[in-house]
């Protein structure tokens, strides 16, 4: 018994005698675990990133906000603060309460001065931590008092240490000024101030009227002011979400808990609700979580498919390692077969022998997934539950890998028993499997084409990718790649007679390739598939990113667009171009609904985004055409079509004849499929005057476009005392969930490509292992005939790099072809122009080429090192 146990205990270490095999099997098992474990981790990471993105797009919206208005009573406020904090504290995942007490707008003046129309109006405000979120201009020595903005300081001539008289109706109060802060109403509001955006910027985002500058103090002082002036106040309680490293399940749990709090707030029969009767409460978190969940769900199916494909590829690697193990130990297998060891027993033995490398590989793969997904995935935050799923997947992969190795071992012994392969097996070996796979790929493509689109919109605005879009390239690359390699095998590998005899390394490399065409073909096919998947994923990911960027730029018009009051012009020498949008007009007689974009051609070309694909002529030429006018007709450029030349514009129902002076497929500022008519603003105003209509109302919007970040433009506007409204950037638009889900999917596919690339390394190791004995004998004999070490090493390097670069060429070309066939179907927002772009990841391909050559030279170094250590006597004995 003890002997049997001892033998069983040593079995798992039998493969230590074959380091390359051990390494290959470990690597394949690691990749299997990595592919399986990465999916749940990646999905969790995508969920975290989707949540972070949705949260940032919400513009600082607090997780919970409660608003109430009424009397200034510090005792009531303290009670409510305590009740709310007590209810929200157990929720977790939220930042501390931010309390705002806002008074009514009141008159500010020097003490003793009469409050009249010339005096500035200010709005008292207390907000938790407010002074930490303003830029201090001047600070007094005393504590307490109020802080006034630099605008108010300039208007009243007051500063720190002075007193400020605040008055409303016939009441007034004098308060000391503690400091002066920089007014930020005209700037891009930080998340801290964003919830009070309407208050700070005035109604309609500051477009309609300038808001009252703030007077900041603590809540008690503001209540004292409001009490003295008998003015009502608004109290806002906000709980910002603590987004730092929050995962989607954590956010969902917080959301559910907050919904419970909101339900209590709405129910006066609860302790919390009784304290907040007549208040308004809302939580934005459920909507944000739903948006993020939808984006995550959009990637789930695709990522799971990709992971499954990766696991299958890795299992092929594990199986191949098992096959090579059996071949490498053919003598031992034959001996065991002769001794009556059946397939079942040998399969079991093979599994036991594989336990060590597969276990180490699974552990390493799991650890690699756990380390790499947070590092390279969409977000570094991964939920604990997904880590458990990942561990389960790795464990399952471990078991399946052992089963596969056992089956492969059993098959090897069966083959030894049978001796010559049967007729069926021979037919199967001759069958071009590549053709079958290629036929499946073509069927997938046909299905994609007939369905119309590879993408479908989800309920939350996210984009779901058709799994065939992922299956097609894998099948296409495997099938077409296999056929290409088969062709290459016939043409190149067997032409050893024509090899260049002038170069010893090249001659030797060609001879070796010619002597083992099947092994070389397997390596090239596997590598071509790996590289092809990587290149395809890279191409599609780059194309989707490029498309998203271009769509965002077209929609915004430039990198930044800031809404301002309709009458506002861009400041002189501005970094911006002013445009006037008039939306929802009619072009007769077709009755087409069109939008108008009134521009200043002098500044527009410098600031607007332009891609030569948009029109046959350049932007300058198009804009120059606007100067050509026929009397009585408004010259327009039509973008998007649908407006014939002799149309009449129904401008606020007044007929305005137009003259089409240019056409473009797409034009900056196009938002949707509605045609856009571009006109010179003076021409439009003149035409409007002639038609007797006024360019005012909700459908008329003034925007300032800038080909820079928002900061310079906002600073400029503030200097010009222009209230800035909504700020939109192309970067914000392109981070929409519709784009994100798609880019994550292809990011994961690219990771699969990298994984497959590592499998090429497994193939390379197996190839070298299989060829080792022959190589070593040839090397020993060659050395005796004057072959130098350098020439031998270079010949191996040529052999390997030749095969791998062939694989790169085949994989890269086929990937480009596959991407070309499907990229038009990968438009995440088909309603927005322009259409999808095709971008080749040249950097990725170059890096892959460098990596392959490096791997080839590394492999040659390993082979040379092994060959130099060979025991010649033993080798010759075994060879004989």
């Amino acid at each position: 018994m003890g002997r049997v146990a001892s033998r069983l205990a040593r079995r798992p270490f039998q493969l230590l005698r074959f380091p390359s095999l051990l390494l290959a099997m470990t690597l394949a098992a690691a990749l299997l675990a990595l592919a399986g474990a990465a999916a749940p981790l990646f999905l969790s990471s995508a969920g975290s990133a989707a949540f972070a993105s949705a949260l940032s797009r919400s513009g600082g919206t607090p997780a919970l906000s409660v608003a109430d208005s009424g009397q200034a009573d510090p005792v009531l406020l303290a009670f409510r603060n305590r009740q709310l904090d007590q209810a929200v504290r157990p929720v977790g995942g939220l930042g501390p309460m931010v309390l705002s007490v806002t008074g009514s707008a009141v008159c500010a003046a020097r003490p003793g001065a009469t409050c009249g129309a010339s005096q500035p109006v200010v709005r008292p405000l207390a907000r938790t931590g407010a002074l930490s979120h303003v830029r201090v201009v001047a600070r007094g020595g005393q504590t307490g008092g109020v802080w006034i903005s630099d605008i108010t300081a300039g208007q009243t001539g007051l500063g720190p240490g002075d007193s400020l008289a605040l008055s409303a109706a016939d009441r007034s109060i004098t308060v000391p000024i503690a400091g002066v802060f920089h007014d930020f109403a005209g700037e891009d509001l930080s998340d801290f101030w964003a919830p009070l955006g309407g208050l700070i910027r005035g109604a309609a985002g500051g477009v309609d009227h300038a808001p009252a500058p703030l007077v900041i103090s603590d809540a008690a002082t503001i209540q004292r002011i409001d009490g003295a002036l008998d003015s009502s106040e608004q109290v806002n309680w906000e709980y910002p979400i603590d987004a730092n490293g929050k995962t989607l399940p954590e956010a969902a749990a917080t959301s559910r808990a907050l919904q419970s709090v909101v339900a209590k707030l709405s129910d006066p029969a609860t302790q919390l609700g009784s304290a907040f009767t007549n208040s308004f409460q809302a939580t934005a978190l459920p909507a944000i979580v739903a948006q993020a969940s939808a984006a995550q769900a959009a990637t789930t199916g695709a990522v799971q498919s990709i992971a499954l494909a990766g696991q299958l590829l890795a299992l092929v690697g594990v199986g191949s390692a098992g096959v090579y193990a059996a071949r490498r130990r053919r003598t031992e297998v034959s001996l065991l077969a002769v001794r009556g060891v059946g397939p079942l027993r040998y399969g079991l033995t093979s599994s036991v022998e594989a336990v060590l490398p597969v276990a180490i590989g699974s552990g390493v793969g799991l650890a690699a997934a756990a380390a790499m997904v947070p590092l390279f995935g969409p977000s570094s935050s991964v939920a604990a539950s997904s880590a458990q799923d990942a561990a389960t997947a790795a464990l399952l992969g471990f078991v399946v890998a052992l089963v596969v190795v056992g089956l492969v071992g059993a098959a090897a012994v069966t083959r030894e028993f049978e001796g010559v392969p049967g007729r069926g097996a021979a037919i199967a070996a001759r069958t071009p499997w590549e053709a079958v796979v290629l036929a499946l790929a073509l069927a997938s493509w046909y299905e994609i084409v007939t369905r119309g689109s590879g993408l479908s919109p989800g309920p939350g605005g996210e984009v779901r990718i058709d799994r065939l879009m992922l299956l097609f390239p894998v099948l296409f690359l495997a099938g077409a790649g296999g056929l290409a390699v088969r062709l290459l095998q016939r043409v190149a590998f067997r032409r050893r007679a024509r090899a260049d005899r002038r170069s010893v390394p090249a001659f030797l490399a060609a001879r070796r390739l010619g002597s083992a065409p099947r092994a070389a073909a397997v390596l090239v096919t596997a590598s071509a598939l790996s590289i092809g998947i990587l290149a395809y994923a890279g191409t599609v990911a780059a194309s989707v990113a490029g498309t998203a960027r271009e769509k965002a730029l077209v929609q915004v018009g430039s990198r930044t667009a800031v809404g301002v009051a309709p009458g506002t012009a861009a400041p002189a020498g501005s970094v911006a171009a002013a445009v006037l949008r008039v939306i929802g007009q009619q072009a007769e007689p077709a009755g087409t609904t069109v939008d108008l974009l009134a521009i200043d051609p002098e500044t527009f070309a410098r600031q607007a985004f332009w891609d030569p694909r948009f029109a046959t002529s350049s932007l300058t030429s198009l804009l120059a055409a606007l100067d050509r006018s026929t009397p009585g007709r408004l010259p327009v450029i039509v973008a998007g079509g649908g407006v014939p030349g002799g149309s009449t514009l129904s401008l606020f129902e007044a007929p305005v004849p137009i003259q089409v002076v240019g056409r473009a497929g797409t034009f900056p500022g196009t938002r949707g499929k509605r045609p856009l008519l571009i006109v010179r603003e003076p021409d439009l105003r003149a035409a409007a005057n002639r038609a007797g209509v006024s360019l005012t109302g909700l459908s008329v919007r003034r925007e300032l476009w800038s080909n820079t970040d928002p900061a310079p433009l906002l600073t400029e506007l503030r200097s010009a005392n222009v209230a800035a409204g909504r700020v939109v950037t192309a970067t914000q638009v392109e981070s929409a969930p519709s784009f994100l889900a798609l880019s994550w999917t292809f990011q994961f596919l690219a990771a699969l490509g990298l994984l497959a690339g590592l499998l090429s390394l497994v193939s390379l190791l197996l190839y070298l292992q299989a060829r080792q004995r022959t190589e070593e004998v040839a090397y020993v004999l060659g050395r005796r005939m004057g072959l130098t070490r350098r020439a031998h090493r270079r010949s191996i390097a040529f052999e390997l790099s030749g095969m791998l670069l062939c694989a790169l060429a085949i994989g890269g070309c086929l990937a480009g072809l596959a991407a070309l066939l499907v990229y038009r179907r990968l438009d995440p927002l088909p309603a927005l122009p322009p259409g999808p772009l095709l971008r080749l990841p040249l950097g990725l391909l170059a890096a892959t080429a460098v990596a392959l050559v490096t791997a080839a030279w590394g492999g040659s170094w390993l082979v040379q090192r092994q060959a130099d250590r060979t025991n010649v006597g033993e080798l010759m004995r075994l060879a004989s």
Partner: protein, 355 residues
């Protein structure tokens, strides 16, 4: 396999085992912070005496902590003007009108928890206000301030003239007022009537009520005398609460507007220094607040969207009960946390909580 190989094998086994165990343990590790344990709430014990303002001829007897409510029948159309436990949980005394007319005389009744009632002593004419506490029941008719002991009910003794009277919590004295001046007298009539305080324009915390105000409620307590002043004339609808300290100084507690609601009731914490009152909110609804008589600091402990009527301290002084909206008695602790909320069956008038 050689010995050296086997030693290497052992190292491999340990390494492999460690890698696997570490990987799986790291992946399986999750941790959630334990939920904070809720703070302990004060226990509710004793018996509460309450009644409805509807003429249903019953008083409600609430047993705590079970929350069981029993009813004891009263003479028809009787709503107690004042009531107190003579023997908590079994016998109560209630000053009841003897007819449905507002001018009909009142009479003290012994109410047994079993349901029987028995008149005690003589009838009283023209009772404007009555109060119970410290083992005494007082009745003010504006001509007389009458007092009787719960232990020996029915023997009414006149202490002076006043429209408003309240017994001290220790039962030694009775404080009474004619609306502008406050007097005090020993409950057993053993000493002279002494003037305590009068409304003056300069009284801190009264503001305009110093000129246009009348005393609306008195609550003698260990920390002083709590006085509610109600606005009259141009200050009608306003109220203020002050505490007359034993040293004669006045501590303002709060002031505000009734907003159409009932004026606040005052109740001293048994053996403590907190004064509880139910004050209306300007925007509707009402609060129960407690104030520290020495500092004047006050805080809200409960809010009701329709306001509170009736207010009692628990015998331990750790909890308060008030009648809130939807016919519920709300029990809260001094931190403002709800202890329980029990359906009152409409019995929102609260008289006594005995242990």
């Amino acid at each position: 396999m050689q010995k050296g190989d086997w030693a290497r094998t052992r190292r491999w086994q340990i390494t492999a085992g460690a890698v696997m165990v570490l990987s799986f343990v790291a992946a399986a590790c999750t941790g959630a912070p334990p939920a904070p344990s809720p703070a302990a709430k004060p226990a509710l014990h004793g018996w509460m005496l309450a009644a409805s303002s509807v003429f249903d001829g019953r008083v409600s007897l609430l047993t705590l902590p079970s929350g069981r409510v029993r009813s004891a029948s009263l003479p028809p159309n009787a709503i107690p003007v004042a009531a107190a436990w003579a023997s908590p949980g079994s016998v109560a005394l209630a000053l009841l009108p003897t007819g449905s007319d507002a001018r009909s005389p009142d009479r003290l009744y012994r109410v047994n928890a079993g349901g029987t009632t028995q008149p005690v002593g003589r009838t009283l004419l023209g009772v404007r206000q009555a109060s119970a506490g410290g083992g005494l029941i007082t009745a003010a008719t504006c001509r007389d301030v009458l007092v009787t002991a719960v232990a020996d009910p029915g023997r009414w003794r006149s202490l002076g003239a006043g429209c408003l009277a309240a017994p001290a919590p220790d039962g030694t004295s009775v404080t009474f007022s004619d609306g502008s001046t406050v007097w005090t007298a020993p409950a057993d009539g053993s000493g002279p009537v002494r003037r305590l305080w009068a409304i003056e324009p300069s009284t801190p915390g009264l503001g305009e009520l110093g000129r246009h105000g009348t005393i609306g409620a008195l609550a003698p307590g260990p920390q002083g005398l709590a006085i509610r002043v109600d606005g009259t004339g141009p200050s009608s609808g306003a109220f203020a609460i002050v505490v007359l300290r034993p040293d004669g100084s006045v501590q303002p507690i709060t002031a505000g507007s009734l907003g159409g609601q009932s004026p606040p009731e005052l109740a001293w914490q048994p053996g403590g220094r907190l004064l509880a009152f139910n004050a209306p909110l300007l925007d509707g609804g009402g609060t129960v607040q407690v104030a520290d008589a020495t500092t004047g600091a006050r805080r809200i402990v409960a809010i009701d969207p329709q306001g509170f009527s009736g207010l009692l301290w628990s015998p331990s002084g750790a909890a308060l009960v008030a009648s809130g909206s939807d016919d519920h008695w709300l029990f809260v602790d001094l931190a403002g946390d709800w202890i329980t909320r029990i359906p009152s069956g409409g019995a929102f008038l609260l008289y006594d909580w005995g242990a």
